[in-house]
């Protein structure tokens, strides 16, 4: 029993690692194999995995996690400006500073639960967002956003020539090797692999938390916080620890955003960004291990695909229709693509929440159960990818 379970976890980690590292090849046929999108998959995957530690385990729904994302970004860019173009100090400082903010915001917000907690976190995030635009302009550079300049001090690197670029161990984040695999153009990008390795580590930490006594206490908080108090557990420090860990994950994601593209703007802290990670987690499967990563990939993929389709592309697709009919169809479908892709996302979200409350993971589980039922047996192996 025990041995089987440990093997199970190892299998999960191996499958996950392989999927992430082979991402550029696996996703190339879907038109998603280019560095910019792959990096976003990994970064938002980290963001959602961390958010799930709070929301999925304790049930506390934060509507302000984008604040930590923004704080991480600003900190990373400041590290590029003042210390070094190396990404290592940048992400370490991003995680530490966002953790510090999470400690303060969490300490205050966790005095309430349910909707009041959500509103408090939302208020804090909007406060950060508005401060970044107004009084904190000397730190955030306001609307223009914070950029790396060649004239910045960078005390560890010394003066650099030309436009400085973030790098790790001498490799620049934008470096890409192009190759060919089964006739497809595949791109192996330093920035993506850096984010991918961190995603794998972040996922492993989340896995260990899920299986740990700490994770058990967090699930107990979601189920019956009062009973936990009457069982001699002080629930608040547990919830606060979960809040700080998920805030640090968000700061890490924000720092990585700045590493792949060294600028930071206040719009990253807006409530829509906080809402996005909630959607990702619910869409993928709240409280499941892999769900948040799937949800993040799903949303970022469709955002990319649907927002790039415009009326001309649609006309091309629907070439076979007579012209008058085609115009009508293009007009209707046009509302769901390009700028209007949020409409598609909204519909998808509604469908999933109504028919699959457990998200994509529940969907996969049902498909696997459906296929394995007639044959019977083999359930143990079928469950591995679903967990």
């Amino acid at each position: 029993m025990l041995e089987k379970l440990r093997n199970n976890d190892t299998a999960i980690m191996l499958a996950f690692t392989a999927m992430v590292l082979l991402g550029p090849i696996i996703l190339a046929p879907f038109g998603a194999g280019y560095p910019d999108l792959l990096q976003r998959f990994a970064i938002f995957g980290i963001f959602a995995v961390g958010f799930n530690i709070l929301f999925g385990l304790t049930g506390y729904l934060s509507f302000g996690h984008a604040a930590f994302l923004g704080i991480g970004s600003y900190m990373a860019v400041w590290s590029f400006k003042l210390l070094s173009m190396s990404v290592i100090p940048a992400i370490i400082l991003a995680v530490l500073l966002s953790g510090l903010f999470a400690l303060v915001i969490g300490y205050v917000s966790l005095r309430r639960s349910g909707i009041y907690f959500s509103i408090l976190t939302l208020a804090f995030a909007q406060m950060c967002y508005n401060l970044a635009y107004s009084v904190l302009t000397p730190i955030t550079n306001g609307e223009t956003g914070l950029k790396v300049l060649s004239s910045d001090p960078r005390i560890l690197d010394g003066a650099s020539e030309g436009l400085p670029l973030p790098s790790v161990l001498g490799l620049r984040m934008i470096d890409t090797w192009r190759g060919s695999f089964l006739g497809m153009d595949v791109q192996f990008n330093v920035g993506f692999y850096f984010c991918a390795v961190i995603l794998i580590i972040a996922f492993y930490i989340s896995l260990r938390i899920f299986r740990s006594p700490f994770g058990l206490m967090l699930r107990a908080i979601r189920t019956n916080q009062a009973r936990l108090n009457y069982t001699g557990i002080n629930t608040r420090p547990y919830a606060l620890t979960a809040f700080v860990i998920s805030g640090m994950y968000a700061g890490l994601a924000g720092g990585l955003m700045a590493c792949t593209d060294p600028l930071a703007g206040a719009e990253r802290m807006q409530w829509t960004a906080s809402g996005e990670v909630v959607l990702m987690t619910i869409l993928g499967g709240v409280g499941t291990l892999i769900g948040p990563v799937l949800g993040a990939g799903f949303i970022k993929y469709f955002e990319n695909i649907f927002s790039k389709i415009n009326d001309n592309v649609l006309s091309g697709f629907l070439d076979f229709l007579p012209e008058t009919l085609r115009e009508g169809v293009v007009w209707v479908m046009g509302a769901f693509v390009g700028e209007g892709w949020h409409l598609t996302l909204g519909l998808l979200f509604m469908i999933i929440v109504i028919f699959l409350p457990g998200g994509l993971v529940e969907g996969f589980n049902r498909i696997i159960a459906w296929f394995s039922r007639p044959k019977g047996g083999d359930k143990a192996t079928a469950r591995v990818p679903a967990e």
């Binding site: 938390i209 058990l216 206490m217 699930r219 019956n224 009973r227 069982t231």
Partner: protein, 252 residues
């Protein structure tokens, strides 16, 4: 001097005097039943013991330590566990996990960050939880999700969670409410057996006189927020004050 000493406790909710000058002394190792008609203040009194309510005046001393102003988890860590009137369990978790949480609370205290240990690899906790599940007869159902249990089994699970903490004082709020006669008798046997083997002091609130007279060494009868009689079980039945409290003042 009892293990639980309650002195001059008053609690008022608006115009209602819920507890009126309550004095109570529970002897260590005994089973002390509190009975009385609905609204007599029994549950309110219990809520004052576990930190759910704060009395307006008076003192509640447990083992020489005041319980007033302590948080529920501090009172529990001091050795007071409670079984609620409606079973309070972790409905989404397995029976095993339910009891393991109590085992962790007993061993690791109110807060210990152990984010890299494995719950299922902790033999000490597993065996301890297993033992306590066996004690209440639920070992065969340990992998079930708690919400799937019958009401009687939920109560037994809650009891297993409380026992897993090795409490000094166990508070039972109508432990057999809603149970069949057979389940009630099982619970009585269980409580008696545990009482003998572990020597846990128990305070029981109960309406079922069969349960009260089977278990209690000492009975306090409450009416309108005040204890009116405290005596041994054999002297309670014939006491005119008790009859008056239950029948509502026949001489009026």
């Amino acid at each position: 001097m009892g293990i639980l000493e309650v002195q001059n406790v008053n609690k008022r909710f608006g115009g209602l005097q819920a507890l009126n000058n309550v004095n109570l002394s529970v002897r260590e190792g005994s089973v002390h039943a509190i009975i009385g008609p609905n609204g007599a203040g029994k549950s309110t009194l219990l809520n004052c013991f576990v930190g759910r309510l704060m009395p307006d005046t008076g003192s509640v001393m447990f083992n020489g330590q005041s319980l007033l102003g302590l948080k529920p988890h501090q009172i529990n860590q001091a050795g007071v566990s409670r079984v609620f009137q409606t079973p309070e369990i972790f409905a989404d978790l397995s029976l095993w996990e339910n009891v393991m949480i109590a085992s962790f609370a007993r061993r690791d205290g109110a807060y210990r960050l152990n984010a890299f240990g494995r719950v299922k690899a902790d033999g000490e906790i597993r065996d301890h939880a297993e033992r306590n599940l066996s004690d209440v007869g639920l070992a065969s159902k340990r992998n079930m999700i708690a919400s799937a249990l019958s009401r009687g089994d939920k109560r037994r699970l809650e009891l297993a969670m409380c026992l897993a903490q090795d409490p000094k004082l166990l508070l039972l709020d109508e432990p057999t409410a809603g149970m069949s006669r057979a389940d009630t008798n099982n619970t009585i046997d269980l409580l008696k057996r545990i009482g003998e083997s572990r020597g846990i002091t128990k305070v029981v609130i109960e309406h079922d006189m069969h349960v009260v007279f089977s278990l209690a060494d000492r009975i306090t009868v409450m009416a309108q927020g005040t204890p009116i009689v405290e005596d041994a079980p054999e002297n309670i039945k014939g006491n005119p004050k008790v009859q008056e409290a239950y029948l509502g003042g026949a001489h009026a």
